[in-house]
């Protein structure tokens, strides 16, 4: 696939190299240094950095301002955008705002329901869904037009991504759902955290059976456990997460002070196994509030040096 945008991430993927992305969550306040500090820790070990958009529906500093900060540091940000909080007017407006700072990557999401956050009384918007946000960005970029039909002066040049959860129910439509996102125009996928590798490989098999891996770049998502408690929490409390019992057992089987190390070991082993899966084009390392571990994970997984 030839690159269609100035995105560095797209260039790396198009060259056939494994790409590495990671993410930073913005702070709960106006302290912009919090973002630059996190980015400093990981910048030399990844190709692009996602900034999450009010994840888990907790109000935070906005992803748009945070990606601009990264861009001004000379980094390659991925703007995450959820359709929960903005209608099509605000979404298009923010996309143009990002494009004006040469932000070249976007991740289109619907967003967690507000019930999970700190403002459960809020109205949600969902004027469009994540599939339709993919269509919207492609329409703006490729047709140079707003959804309303008017021309855009200097259309955004964005490489368009979305999430995929290989583990959500119903499993039988997982490949169909990805096909639908591809039909909508998605160009790269970052998956939900993978702990159940067998099931992920089954999903990839379905993807390959339909030839979908040739139409979209797939970055496998991984998140290291900090503790056995975190593994249990992810297993039981986080919707759409599939943490097999063996993994929880392995985490609980080591003494508390060694659990963080074991979490990193599991993460590195997962990456090494997933590297061999045909159709996996890279990794999205989500070290939640543990960004300082990204360099070690990337290094031990043989993902360094970055281009």
């Amino acid at each position: 696939m030839n690159p269609k945008t100035p995105s560095k991430l797209e260039k790396i993927l198009a060259s056939g190299q494994l790409a590495v992305t990671s993410e930073c969550g913005p702070p709960r306040g106006s302290n912009g240094d919090a973002i630059t500090k996190k980015a400093e820790m990981i910048k030399d070990y990844v190709d692009a950095i996602n900034i999450t958009d009010n994840q888990t529906s907790v109000a935070r500093l906005c992803s748009l301002a945070a990606v601009i900060r990264l861009k001004l540091m000379g980094l390659e940000p991925i703007l995450q955008m959820v359709t929960r909080d903005r209608n099509r007017i605000a979404l298009q407006s923010d996309i143009l705002g990002a494009a004006s700072f040469d932000i070249n990557n976007i991740l289109c999401l619907s967003g967690d329901h507000q019930q999970f956050g700190d403002h459960p009384q809020a109205q949600n918007v969902f004027d469009i869904d994540s599939m339709q946000l993919i269509q919207t960005v492609r329409h703006m970029r490729d047709e140079g037009k707003f959804l309303g039909g008017d021309d855009i002066d200097k259309p955004p040049q964005m490489f368009v991504g979305a999430a995929a959860n290989p583990f959500a129910d119903p499993f039988e439509i997982r490949a169909r759902r990805l096909a639908k996102k591809i039909a909508a125009g998605v160009e790269f996928i970052q998956t939900q955290c993978i702990y159940n590798l067998d099931k992920f490989e089954l999903w990839m098999e379905q993807i390959r059976d339909r030839g979908l891996h040739e139409k979209v770049y797939i970055l496998a998502g991984v998140t290291p456990f900090k503790s056995a408690g975190m593994a249990k929490y992810m297993k039981n409390r986080v919707p759409g997460m599939d943490v097999p019992d063996e993994v929880v057992k392995r985490m609980s089987g080591v003494p508390k002070e060694k659990q963080a190390e074991e979490g990193i070991n599991i993460c590195v082993e997962s990456i090494q196994r997933l590297k061999e899966v045909e159709g996996v084009n890279g990794f999205h390392i989500m070290a939640i509030e543990w960004e300082e571990k990204v360099p070690e994970i990337a290094k031990r997984s043989g993902l360094l040096p970055r281009p």
Binding site: D129, A163, P170, I173, Q192, P239
Partner: protein, 222 residues
């Protein structure tokens, strides 16, 4: 039908605490079917209010009436001759009925006794659930007869989201995932391929967003 439930008694008492004589008006339509504002519920509310006033050593005279409908002028007219005798009216209709009564009777306070919730069905005895949000452009033909706008917490037109787990919604384990239902039914109909058809961005101008809605049928106007 329109599904509603009664407000807490204290909230209703707060409306009428200074009244001596009130009229409680029930409605014989939807709110009777969902046991919220029919003749029986009017009687229950009347005695509860009387008891509450008695406890405070206050008197309250109550007349109970249940109209055929409160969303129709002709039935609302039935109380025109008596309404002036009262300090206030407590309507046990849905929000539509309460408002229409307030539009008809300008000089007397009208208070709602119900919270109006949704357009829905009786799933089983004592259980009502939402089925329609009146978006003004029905998409049930594309979604196997199951509405993701009223039944998906994110009203996703191309769902399910990543939070669908074992057929249930991420926000509540009691709640069916609308997209699981759609997929199951598409499968049943032998039309699972239809799942891959993208539902286009919706025109919400016929929904609440477009402002208060109105239908004018000239063929029916005199």
């Amino acid at each position: 039908m329109i599904v509603a439930e009664r407000k807490p008694l204290d909230e209703i008492i707060e409306f009428i605490k200074d009244c001596k004589k009130i009229l409680i008006v029930g409605c014989n339509e939807c709110v009777t079917v969902c046991y919220a504002g029919g003749k029986k519920e009017v009687a229950v509310l009347a005695s509860a209010l009387k008891m509450a006033f008695l406890k405070e050593e206050k008197e309250l005279e109550i007349t109970e009436v249940t109209l055929e409908r409160q969303c129709d002028q002709e039935y609302l007219e039935e109380i025109r001759d008596i309404i002036d005798q009262y300090d206030a009216v407590v309507s046990m209709a849905c929000g539509v009925g309460v408002q229409f009564m307030a539009e008809k009777y300008l000089s007397i306070p009208i208070y709602p006794a119900l919270n109006t919730l949704f357009m829905g069905v009786t799933e089983e005895r004592g259980v009502w659930a939402e089925r329609c949000q009146g978006c003004g452009q029905c998409i049930l033909g594309q979604t196997a007869g199951i509405c993701p706008i009223s039944r998906c917490a994110k009203r996703l037109l191309n769902g399910p989201c990543g939070g669908s787990t074992k057929g249930k919604c991420e926000i509540n384990k009691e709640l069916d995932c609308a997209w699981q239902l759609i997929i199951d039914r598409l499968k049943e109909l032998g039309r699972l391929d239809d799942y891959e058809k993208l539902i286009p961005i919706k025109d919400w101008s016929t929904e609440r967003s477009g402002g208060p809605r109105r239908i004018v049928r000239e063929d029916l106007q005199q």
